[in-house]
């Protein structure tokens, strides 16, 4: 066992969700208009911590997370959408601060929460490599030294002086990942960024990760792909609703996680978080509106979700994500992307997704449902999710799993108050 690389002690993070209560009358509006600036200025001067004292609804994205990572260890972080994985990575990357608890990191940290951060479409590939490298914390001389290696890894030798706005999305992602793959810090924090490019490029990316691990670097790795996790990682932690529910060897973590998923198989009523938001029921229906467990090729699947919202939200969306039984993400649908609306009143809502079968070679799928809210820009996934299995469906031909974007629609309707 190597020396300590990362130690987290009781890390907790609180987010505010929702927004101010809706205005009732002109008088309220005026009173609020007069008092709000004073309140807000006071809040601004007191800093962000004042959010915890009453007012808008708050959620704990993480609650007392403690773990240690030794140098040279590759730790897989497992958990469903909204379990707190991204928040944890953001805290360890020093992008956001914990509300409570502490963490100590020994070594330089390179964090890849997203590939291609800071890429500018007007700049050429070459210029973006330098810019992105600098943003990721590399020195100019270091980038210059690795430049040829980066370009050949991305397989973009002949396009390197073309503005990246002319790149295909695949080329763009390859270049972005190539820069990221050449960071030489002792510690690497990697969010699910490996799902880029075609299968061959993904293999190459995984190879690079494997190489990093074999060279004794410490890696924190988030993925939904259980096979990849088992292949790359030595240890793991499983997060659920912001707490560590299991930690130890990666094999036992993956096993624990699949058990966690199993136990939720027939869950249709997901838990409310703090009473302010809840997913009540999830219905999976065929085109005729009958409950179904199969999704035949050429047919549409209807997913209806009843959700209750305790406070009016300016930025609210419902996400559904499909996974294979191994935990690999197939595709996700977001209500805000599909219908362009995000502002909703408090009350009981029904969201109806109609999805064309994209034609998949997957015998079994899991469905993950989550409410996503972005208050005054607060991003938090509510971990109220249900896992459901769709069985026995026969697709005609194979598809690249990363290119699936089935045509779908989302209709959001609200029940009459008190009805």
């Amino acid at each position: 066992m190597g020396d300590l690389a990362i130690r987290c002690e009781g890390i907790a993070k609180q987010y505010r969700i929702g927004q101010r209560e809706s205005y009732r009358s002109l008088r309220d509006t005026l009173t609020d208009a007069i008092t709000a600036p004073i309140r807000r200025v006071r809040a601004a001067l007191q800093g962000s911590d004042s959010g915890s004292t009453g007012g808008p609804a708050t959620i704990w994205a993480l609650e007392a997370v403690s773990f240690e990572v030794r140098q040279g260890e590759v730790l897989g972080i497992i958990g469903r959408n909204g379990a707190g994985k991204s928040t944890l990575l953001k805290i360890l990357s020093r992008i956001t601060w914990p509300t409570r608890g502490s963490a100590d990191i020994y070594g330089r940290v390179g964090s890849l929460l997203e590939v291609g951060t800071g890429f500018h479409p007007e700049l050429t590939g070459r210029e973006n490599v330098y810019l992105n490298g600098a943003i990721l914390g590399m020195k100019k001389a270091e980038i210059a030294r690795k430049f040829d290696e980066i370009v050949s890894f991305a397989e973009l030798e002949s396009f390197i002086d073309t503005p990246v706005k002319r790149y295909s999305s695949g080329m763009y992602m390859r270049l972005a990942f190539a820069v990221a793959a050449h960071i030489q810090t002792e510690i690497l924090i990697v969010d699910e960024v490996l799902a880029v490019g075609d299968a061959q490029f993904q293999k190459k990316c995984l190879g690079k990760m494997d190489e990093a691990a074999r060279h004794g670097r410490t890696v924190l790795f988030v993925s939904h792909n259980m096979l990849v996790l088992q292949k790359l990682c030595t240890a793991g932690i499983v997060l659920d609703s912001g707490t560590v529910v299991s930690q130890g060897r990666i094999g036992s973590c993956v096993h624990y996680y699949s058990q966690l998923s199993e136990s939720r198989q027939d869950l249709t009523a997901a838990t409310a978080l703090d009473g302010s938001m809840a997913i009540k029921t999830v219905r999976i229906l065929d085109e005729e509106g009958e409950p179904t467990g199969t999704w035949l090729y050429g047919r549409r699947l209807i997913v209806e979700v009843d959700a209750s919202v305790g406070v009016p939200c300016q930025h609210l969306a419902l996400d559904i994500t499909f996974y294979t039984s191994e935990g690999q993400r197939l595709f996700g649908l977001q209500s805000d992307v599909l219908n362009g609306r995000t502002a909703y009143d408090a009350g009981l809502h029904t969201v109806r997704f109609e999805i064309e079968n994209p034609g998949l070679t997957v015998p079994e799928m899991y469905l993950d449902v989550g409410l996503r809210t972005q208050g005054v820009g607060y991003e938090a996934m509510l971990p109220c999710a249900g896992y459901l299995v769709l069985k026995g469906y026969v697709p005609p031909h194979a598809h690249n799993l990363n290119l699936i974007t089935p045509s779908a629609s989302a209709v959001w309707s609200q029940a009459v108050q008190g009805g």
């Binding site: 360890l92 608890g101 502490s102 963490a103 943003i135």
Partner: protein
């Protein structure tokens, strides 16, 4: 300090470690409370990133605009022509014995630098939202890059001044040696105000709409179109509370050397800038821990 869950873990560090952990940089992550130290040393470590961001801003702007660098000249030159015509020729605003076009252009140079730097830095944090929510670096780099990018336009526009002074046969005196100090003061003024506004802009997007209005009003509060000698002598130190008054008059004095040195007014301006800057730096550092959550 440590939470209860840390009890079990605390036994670990007491075991002597074989390889010195101290050789690796140690980062302590703690909840952000109260005022945070400026940590200018860390800012210095990220100087390459600062240069890259400045380079990006300039490059992108010149690539996206049809006239490119010509904008840096067109704006002050057109302003100078309009000012000369309406204030100089028609309204007969005094110009301290300097030909009015030179008088106006000497002031428009630092003014444009200030206005550009202020606008860029005020919007910088919100404009770089993606970076802030995905990558760690000292956040101060962002408004600083916004301010410093204005220096390139300034240098380009400066070339016109040389032509203008040749045209009117004005030879600069020894006072021109002090010009860099006034450039620095203009940059610091923009940075000081930009720091406040960029941090406020994250919480209240109203700031974005305020900046245009603010620079407009500020232009008329500064001795750009008129000399500060219009202000009664005893009120001039008070006038210096507007730091741009000191900057603009300082520029004229340094470049042409005919106007009296700004004196007390300049001293007040310098103190004002330093106060605003210190406040802005600490306020920005205080607010930056919530940027990623709020933006």
């Amino acid at each position: 300090m440590a939470t209860l869950s840390g009890e079990a873990l605390r036994l670990e560090p007491q075991v002597p470690v074989v390889a010195p952990v101290a050789a690796l940089p140690h980062v302590a992550i703690r909840p952000a409370r109260g005022w945070i130290a400026l940590d200018l040393g860390e800012l210095w470590q990220y100087r390459e990133l600062l240069l890259f961001l400045i380079w990006r801003d300039i490059k992108v702007r010149y690539k996206q605009t049809a006239l490119g660098a010509a904008w840096a000249i067109l704006q002050p030159v057109f302003s100078m022509v309009v000012f000369s015509l309406f204030f100089g020729r028609l309204a007969k605003v005094p110009s301290d014995g300097i030909p009015y076009p030179v008088f106006a252009y000497c002031a428009l140079l630092p003014w444009q630098l200030f206005a550009y730097a202020l606008t860029e830095s005020s919007n910088s944090v919100v404009a770089n939202e993606r970076l802030i929510s995905k990558v760690y670096f000292p956040r101060l780099v962002i408004p600083l890059a916004g301010v410093l990018a204005g220096l390139v336009d300034f240098a380009i526009a400066f070339s016109v001044l040389i032509l203008l002074m040749l045209r009117y046969g004005i030879v600069p005196t020894a006072t021109i040696a002090t010009l860099p100090l006034f450039v620095l003061l203009a940059v610091l003024t923009a940075l000081a105000v930009g720091l406040w506004l960029s941090a406020l802009n994250v919480q209240y997007r109203d700031v974005r709409y305020t900046v245009g209005f603010l620079t407009q009003i500020w232009l008329f509060l500064s001795p750009v179109a008129y000399p500060s000698s219009l202000v009664p002598e005893r009120w001039r130190p008070l006038y210096g509370l507007n730091p741009m008054a000191g900057v603009v008059e300082g520029f004229r004095w340094a470049l042409v050397g005919k106007t009296p040195p700004p004196g007390a007014m300049l001293a007040v301006s310098v103190v004002m800038v330093l106060l605003l800057l210190a406040g802005g730096l600490f306020y920005f550092r205080r607010m930056e821990n919530s940027f990623a959550d709020v933006i």
